[in-house]
Symmetry: C2
């Protein structure tokens, strides 16, 4: 991998998400060599992926080149690679571009979509964990409408205009809201020869309320907002199967839909080679102690979504969200430096500053520890927090300009099929004719 051997201890970080970047930043200008490895050459601001998928933001504005973060830093190395496995007995990792030894290894690989073992669901539904996946959804939405125009078969047309979102957490709620706003403001203008009222947005939630990690008041208002926007909410419903045409659930209800977006769960993005005792079967996460040290190891750490730290307050690990990831990353950087100096380590304690979700124009819900509010002010806070959290001045400006434009013009202008979504399993009555 062409990383020079120096006398400095080498800390290898796998993953340039919120957690990995927080560690890397905490190690800036210290006496360590840092190697960051990621399969993309950019950091993805995942909370805004749904806006890329619905044409509100360009993909480049929520991505930030990882190399730029390390400009002008000595002993910092970025490598674009996939990590195949860890070899703990050799203090080495095996990657697509060769092997690399480490003194300390930080696993910050994040999470992957959890299809709960269903091959069909994995094959036919769309996921939204990365920029390319969001662009695929954007292409598919528009391709469906272009195709709906061409058929005179009503059932076909309805299926092409039927969007099923599985999962009523923040991702599902925000995506449903954004789709509903497209239905209201943009699609009737773009497709005057289609009856856009026939477009359906179905949001399916397994539990008895949306946003079930938030307060009941937030759930209630989110459900109200979505209902008013025309989203059909299905609660206590599980999706069992989808064959590319029909969604089957745990009761008799079925949906004929060309597009199913799977936001029903995430699982840790594991890497091979760790001891079995360190792995938690159910959630696919890595067991760590209060210092994020992987159980059974003395120089391998896991942070963020992939790590599961059991505490009194969070017996099954912290929520798989940006905030715990960043806090763990920041603390781990300090603890790594303390370890190297033989100093005492500080255990992690999650400082929950609250959570929020946006539903649409002037509509969001915010739960702070002591204050819960919804509506216009919540929406404003949501925007401010997200804008502030974006990495890069250019990105902040471009996202802000787009939001101002979209707000004033009731528009989302990046509805482009730059790369068509071509999947041979894709629902298309034309392909079948051919």
């Amino acid at each position: 991998m062409n990383i020079p051997e120096t006398s400095l201890p080498r800390i290898v970080i796998i993953g340039g998400g919120f957690a990995g970047l927080a560690v890397a930043k905490g190690l800036e200008k210290k006496d360590v060599q840092v190697v960051l490895i990621d399969k993309h050459n950019y950091h993805t601001f995942q909370p805004l992926l749904y806006q890329v998928a619905t044409g509100g933001l360009e993909p480049d504005s929520i991505a930030f080149p990882l190399r730029k973060i390390f400009n002008n830093l000595e002993d910092y190395y970025f490598r674009l690679a996939e990590v195949h496995q860890v070899l703990p007995h050799k203090n080495e990792i095996e990657t697509s571009i060769g092997n690399l030894t480490y003194d300390h290894l930080v696993i910050a690989t994040g999470s992957a979509t959890n299809f709960f073992g269903s091959e069909n669901i994995e094959k036919y539904t769309m996921e939204m964990k990365s920029v390319p996946q969001s662009l695929n959804i954007r292409s598919l939405i528009i391709e469906n409408f272009e195709e709906a125009l061409l058929t005179s078969d009503l059932a076909e047309r309805n299926a092409l205009m039927n969007f099923v979102i599985v999962g009523g957490g923040p991702t599902g709620v925000e995506l449903a809201g954004a789709l509903a706003e497209m239905k209201k403001g943009i699609l009737p203008k773009d497709y005057p020869d289609l009856d856009i009222r026939q477009m359906q947005i179905n949001l399916i939630q397994g539990s008895d309320r949306l946003l079930d990690a938030m307060s009941k008041k937030a759930s209630k208002r989110a459900e109200d907002f979505l209902t008013r926007l025309g989203v059909d909410i299905w609660k206590n419903l599980y999706v069992n199967d989808y064959d590319g045409k029909t969604v089957h659930t745990n009761n008799d209800k079925t949906f004929e839909a060309a597009t199913v977006i799977w936001a029903a769960g995430v699982t840790g993005e594991l890497i091979n080679g760790l001891d079995a005792e360190a792995l938690i079967e159910r959630a696919g996460r890595i067991k760590v102690d209060a210092h994020n040290l992987v159980v059974g190891s003395d120089n391998i750490y896991a942070i963020g979504d992939v790590a599961s730290m059991s505490s009194e307050e969070y017996p099954h690990g912290h929520p798989m969200m940006a905030r715990p990831a960043i806090q763990q990353g920041k603390l781990l950087a300090k603890n790594l430096l303390a370890t190297l100096k033989g100093k005492k380590l500080k255990p992690f304690k999650y400082n929950d500053k609250g959570s929020m979700a946006t539903i649409g124009r002037n509509k969001a819900v915010v739960d702070l520890p002591n204050f819960k509010f919804q509506g216009f002010f919540a929406w404003f806070v949501w925007m401010f927090v997200h804008l502030f959290s974006l990495i890069g001045f250019r990105n902040k400006v471009i996202v802000f300009m787009n939001w101002v434009y979209n707000y004033i013009r009731f528009d989302r202008e990046t509805r482009l099929i730059i790369r068509p979504f071509k999947n041979k399993n894709k629902y298309s009555f034309r392909d079948e004719d051919a």
Copy 2:
């Protein structure tokens, strides 16, 4: 294709480029039915593709959704389709989504890259006529540098850092300048462990000067600017072959390069079914009369790059550029309406307002009919004209913000590999090892 039959005459326009859009806009709110067909759902502002390829602009800011142009217009239809052929005897076209009859047909298919019949060159070089192609170049440039980092074989590393641009017209010159600025400002910071001085930018021109359609003074200054930026200019040199590794020319000079960008020529993007007498073998264009009527037809028109109108001043047709395309489109709209009313048609006369090319920061060349200037003011004019010509207010703002940012920060921030360029023919020493 589900286009309703009305009593209005149907005008079908193939292609949503500068020419096609100019016709469509000229027919707004007139007593005609307009059907615009394009293989993309957006208009591409081709003059700025090189900035997408070099990470200066996001792709979405130089593309504009075609449907948005027709929002709120009656009897306007857009269809996303590829046209397979024209059936002139039936007044019908055959497309990927079915057949459609027309009363008048406007062919505005633009141009394609001209590989002059070389299969190797077509297979191994990169072209830059569309947004996806520009994104492929962007990915490939970064992938090459990531790969150059990993090899200790000097010849391999040099080949990965050797960029050959074939064609010294505006596209080649602008791309070479942008690459040279990346070499200067960005790559040394992103790749501190590579000796970026070894990066080569070779610009190959067949004739004895760059920008040979412009004034000699413009050529001279462009060559000076590029030389100062570190571009190697090769004049009177033809590329005969490229096998993915070695560029062979008409003399002994060869180049070992992983990336060759082919900007050496364009040819009309023809469609099948036209009479042989209407086609011009050499340039791949369609012969039209002074009213852009295709020779041998009475209701098929061709405009823009694909049309060749012979006049005293332009015996081999007008230059294949935006300006003549727009002017022909505007006039054709008027002439179509005149034809429908039985009025007299106006012949086309190209009003050449001049031409320009930018080389880089503060460096451009402008030839106006009576005034030729170069340097900072030319650069300023170039920016103003291009910003003004972009379609869409949002695009103008986003491009402007990016330019301001890039200018102040000496940066180009969208250097992301959103979709890796994966071509099995791609030069890669790692793939060969595997």
